[in-house]
Amino acid sequence: MKKALVPAAFAACCVPLLWFAVQAATSGLGANPVEELLNDLGYTAFVLLALTLACTPLQTVAGWNWPIRIRKLLGDFCFFYACLHMLTYVVIDQGLDFKAVATDVLKHKFIFLGMATWLLLLPLAVTSTRGWQRRLGFRRWKRLHRLVYLVGGLASFHFLLRFKTPRVETIAWMGVICVLLLVRAVAAVRRRAGMVQSP
């Protein structure tokens, strides 16, 4: 059972990709498949980001240790889908028109936030290995990986701006990210106050 956790999580993370492939092949992506694919990939990346951010609070609050064992995997898959999302935007949506992409990024905060989110994920994905953890030293590595909190905030705003009007579901997701960050903040304050031993 314990051994199956990581492979099972890996398989689950592959399901959206297979699903989108089947849909693309059966014109299930609708009249505007590029837009649909962009939305689906971005949404998948966002959900994986939320799941990644949920691992530590689950340990803090529920005392579960198993989510920590798949945290790296979830984070890596979040980056994987974020890459596909970004590449779909640059390659298909913008047709590799780099001038248009640059203008878009600089002029529109919706696109800027999306690109900033991806750029911040990049160093986290690169240094997500044990080797990099050792090379940086755990303290510095940990400090670097706190960037993921910022990623959570930026991604939420990017998601919010996707729609003409703020939607209930995007606001709900912002709430989820807020709660996950808040749990950490409370735990940090309590740790500092010496009420709870650091795990």
């Binding site: 699903w19 014109s27 009249a31 590029v34 203008t103 529109h108 939607r167």
Partner: protein, 308 residues
């Protein structure tokens, strides 16, 4: 441990429900519709003649399926696939359109009278959505000018306001949709009287599908699609510029009153320089006034960057 620290069972059970609900909706949200809503065809319209001046032969028309499954119609839901899935929630009979305000002959029309009173022609128009996608659509309708002239507009009729239907069973009008209802649109009188402005009652020679704004809608092809109000119940001629939904919403931040298709004026969140024609992979250049340069004279002397 004290009893007060124990989570009450009711809350505990609800927590489970909440988690289940969360997981369920996350799953539902991540599963885009596998198959598109089945396309339903309406009755054929009688006596439609194609207007050769608006045949747009150089453009490839979008399929009936594209035009009827990819819609923006917030009253029927805010996702592109919602309007076709909820099309049955719009009741199109009985239907009246009232014309009021600065007119010599105000009138309440029954939709059947309208259909009998105006010769219906087919016109193929480009439609450019503010969201940077576009289609080519064969509409069936008649000039808005012909309709308005029947009511003898007075000299004080400077603007025309359009109001769309709100019916309590429409899923989008219940609760929070982000915009207020009824949906309001408006044109300047010279824009409304322009021969391109059309009142539409059909599509591909068939009665207009509900998701496309049945039974009667506006089509103004040189403006972004949201200007072309759907399912119209009221047309009011007036002296002052009417408030419009997307202009009013967010303190006018979303879009201006004119909303002419203009590749040089960006949307707050994206560029309008290019668009994706539905059915094509790569974007094409957006044309000024959506390619309808004959309307340019309406805006002589108007700064289109300011009045966008």
């Amino acid at each position: 441990m004290r009893w007060s620290e124990v989570t009450p069972r009711s809350l505990y059970v609800r927590r489970r429900e909440f988690l289940k609900l969360g997981a369920g909706s996350a799953l539902a949200l991540s599963l885009p519709a596998f198959a598109r809503a089945k396309v339903e065809h309406g009755p054929k319209l009688a006596g439609v003649t194609a207007n050769p001046n608006y045949a747009l032969a150089e453009e490839k028309k979008n399929s009936f399926e594209d035009i009827t499954t990819y819609n923006n119609f917030y009253e029927l839901g805010s996702d592109k696939s919602d309007p076709s899935e909820n099309a049955g929630k719009l009741q199109t009979r009985p239907w009246t359109v009232s014309v009021e305000g600065e007119v010599g002959k105000p009138r309440k029309w029954d939709i059947e009278e309208i259909l009998k009173s105006f010769p219906i022609e087919e016109r193929v128009y480009r439609l450019r959505c503010v969201e940077a996608w576009s289609m080519v659509i064969p509409w069936d309708g008649f000039p808005l000018a012909d309709f308005l002239k029947k009511h003898d507009p007075t000299s004080r009729a400077k603007y025309v306001a359009f109001e769309s239907a709100v019916q309590p069973q429409m899923p989008g009008v219940k609760g929070y949709a982000g915009i207020p209802f009824p949906y309001l649109e408006g044109l300047r009188i010279d824009e409304a009287m322009h021969p391109l402005s059309l009142l539409v009652v059909g599509l591909y020679g068939e009665a207009l599908p509900n998701q496309d704004g049945a039974p009667i809608r506006l089509v103004v092809p040189w403006k972004y699609g949201f200007k072309s109000a759907k399912s119209i119940v009221k047309i009011r001629l007036q002296e002052s510029q009417p408030p419009t939904t997307w202009n009013q919403y967010g303190g006018g931040a979303e879009y201006g009153f004119y909303a002419n298709v203009n590749p040089d004026v960006d949307h707050p969140r994206w560029s309008q320089a290019r668009e994706r024609r539905i059915g094509e992979l790569l974007r094409r250049k957006t044309l000024m006034f959506n390619g309808y340069s004959e309307v340019a004279s309406l805006y002589a002397g108007l700064d289109l960057r300011k009045f966008y």
